[in-house]
Symmetry: C2
Subunit: 401 residues, 2 copies
């Protein structure tokens, strides 16, 4: 058979991505704390990880009293790269508006820690990590994890850093769920808690949207029953569809109307076809494609599943207030008027349960068209709220600089 010049193969790109995904999962561009079989990590599912690693970022300086630590919990598709250039995308951190010198979470005053969640794909043990038992990616052999498991992994980071009690634990969306779990499971380690745009349980509608996303991923033949990394493929199309569907839920109808309306994309008239005629279509497709570049499809399955299983009251005899009994943690609960994924009603339920337990709680509902994602957007009232609440907590704890 004659030798031929090999044409560029579509598979080549996939292989580069696979290599990068596996490297970032095992040897991330972040500090990592690793645990072996001498410190097994028990999971809510009944499973156990004999090897666990947690990747995290820190900003600012821990004071001598170790009393100025602010723990940030990231959302479903976030990661630990809060306020630095992202090692995969090259883009600025996801909460650069909130975290940094002189920002609401002021790194001149606070020592900020954010860990990649358990089940994630940026260096904390997840389905893209190597399973030490066979040297292959865990894929769907990894036990399913819960929000509580995520928090327990973060506790290990705080232990590692020698921090007994965080000045504050803060996060939006799934990050807010973790904040609630932190406060419920470790009241003595949380001086103050700031759950934003979240709920004490995942609603039926939210589970439904997640299920659509998972089905989209699993319908992609390149998912290969989860073994795509080992087989050198990637369920790009399925994951992009999942992201597109989810992204709609993060924005308000009003914001979509204001931002895109029915405007056409780079054309004067509709083409009467299935191209992205409308700006909103073009925007969504872009969201899908860029997401796939940075996120592992199996991680998407695991982390959405953790959210679905979240139902804090269920762990406390069905009464949410029981989760806060004898807690001295100060709470600041934040919701957004246009958030239809976690409507203000969900925050109000949390606030009422805290009030019923006599826990100190502030509640701020912020008027905005930003939708669920408002916690990531330019929301001056949010900045003022966080900055003020954190400052007061620091003074109350004597942690002010």
């Amino acid at each position: 058979m004659a030798t031929q010049t090999a044409p560029a193969r579509p598979g080549d790109n996939s292989r580069i991505e696979v290599a990068r995904a596996r490297r970032e999962a095992d040897e991330p561009t972040s500090p990592v704390v690793r645990f072996g079989p001498d410190q097994p990590f028990e999971l809510d599912s009944g499973g156990r990880l004999d090897h666990l690693q947690v990747a995290y970022q820190t900003y600012g300086t821990l004071n001598a009293a170790r009393s100025n630590a602010v723990v940030i919990c990231h959302a479903l598709t976030g990661d630990q790269h809060v306020a630095n250039i992202h090692p995969v995308t090259g883009k600025p951190g996801w909460w650069l508006r909130m975290v940094g010198p002189g920002k609401p979470i002021d790194t001149d005053r606070y020592f900020v820690i954010c860990a990649n969640v358990l089940g994630g794909c940026m260096g904390t043990t997840g389905p893209a990590s190597t399973n030490p038992a066979n040297g292959e990616p865990w894929a769907t052999d990894l036990p399913v994890v819960t929000i509580r498991d995520m928090v327990r992994a973060q506790v290990r980071v705080l232990d590692h850093l020698g921090i007994e009690m965080a000045l504050a634990v803060i996060g939006g969306s799934m990050g807010g769920m973790q904040v609630l779990q932190w406060a419920a499971s470790y009241p003595d380690r949380v001086f103050s808690a700031i759950p934003i745009a979240c709920g004490a349980r995942h609603s039926s509608q939210n589970i439904a949207f997640h299920e659509v996303g998972r089905q989209a991923v699993m319908a992609d033949p390149d998912w290969r029953n989860g073994r795509y990394l080992a087989e050198g493929t990637s369920p790009r199309k399925g994951l992009a569809v999942a992201r597109m569907a989810a992204h709609i839920t993060y924005m308000s109808d009003k914001a979509l109307h204001a931002k895109f309306g029915r405007r056409l994309q780079d054309r004067e008239k509709p083409t009467f076809g299935f191209d992205a005629d409308f700006q909103i279509e073009s925007y969504l497709r872009h969201q899908g494609v860029t997401f796939v570049e940075r996120f592992d499809a199996n991680s998407y399955l695991y982390v959405t599943r953790a959210m679905d299983y979240f139902d804090l009251a269920a762990d406390y005899g069905g009464v949410l207030a029981n989760a806060w009994r004898n807690s001295a943690t100060r709470f600041c609960v934040v919701s957004f008027t246009s958030d239809w994924l976690f409507p203000t009603e969900e925050s109000r339920t949390i606030v009422q349960s805290l009030a019923a337990s006599n826990a100190p709680v502030s509640f701020v509902e912020i008027e905005t068209t930003g939708g669920h994602d408002a916690f990531l957007l330019d929301e001056p009232e949010l900045y003022g709220t966080i900055s003020g609440f954190l400052g007061a907590a620091a003074r109350a704890r004597g942690a002010a600089t």
Copy 2:
């Protein structure tokens, strides 16, 4: 090579479905009116169909004055089988609660007509129909159609039946869009109009959800660039995902909570896996699977696209009221409080434009948790509204029996 007993092949089922889909598209279980090149059908896109067929059902009897016809326009995934057993699913018609002897749209009094929409898959020309030019299914060679094209195809049915003016044109969701288009394009043929749970244009958020569904279909390798019927495949997984995503938007958050909450499906504890642990997951998967049995994937693309392009005001210089100038049609606009796909605000815009044109209009907002799909559910206030309005229209026209 030795002869082996052939195992059941997954392809066999597909072939049966392909045959059934093609038969129903070309030779439906409904009366059909056909047009040839002597009556070419011009489309909004600039395209033209030299062959057009429209399948329809009728119920009741046309009176001697031909004045008691009620035209029903069906929604995205509906069809002409309003009040009879569906020929494909074997299930009762989709509006059996509304249409029949003694029902709000009383077939003892009215002659009811419903045509399958242009672009559909139940006998009216659509992508599953045979393209006479090559004997193959049209697939994506069919020109994209609009809501106005759909209405123009229905006009041909009325002409065929010798009906000059309908007593009423009624429909929910995309059916409501057609009602608005009927009244705008043919004011002299519409004595009264009942648009339910719709808008005068498709919103950015609605386009977004449709785009997700289309991308899910087109991401399925079995879609084969639209040529799945000719190739004997079927993009079942992609279409099921599209249906699941859409179905969430048809129900209210409250109704989902009441119907499913976080209840588990046939189990006491979560399995910590990716099975359908929750009832809502199981329900959605069922919706996806059953939809695929009865609907053509390319039709889903075409009909969603027609809705996306709908923007009635744009056809009238950007002023919706211009669509009703000099119209004597009586309107009854209906919305549902929990419909977040077409919120009441959209209906109010229609009502205001009618008021601005001095068109006679009633407006009813029905309090319900039924969401967008409330027009298909057991809603006594809706029945009373329709029955009363239709009766008054019949009396005003002298069409009462």
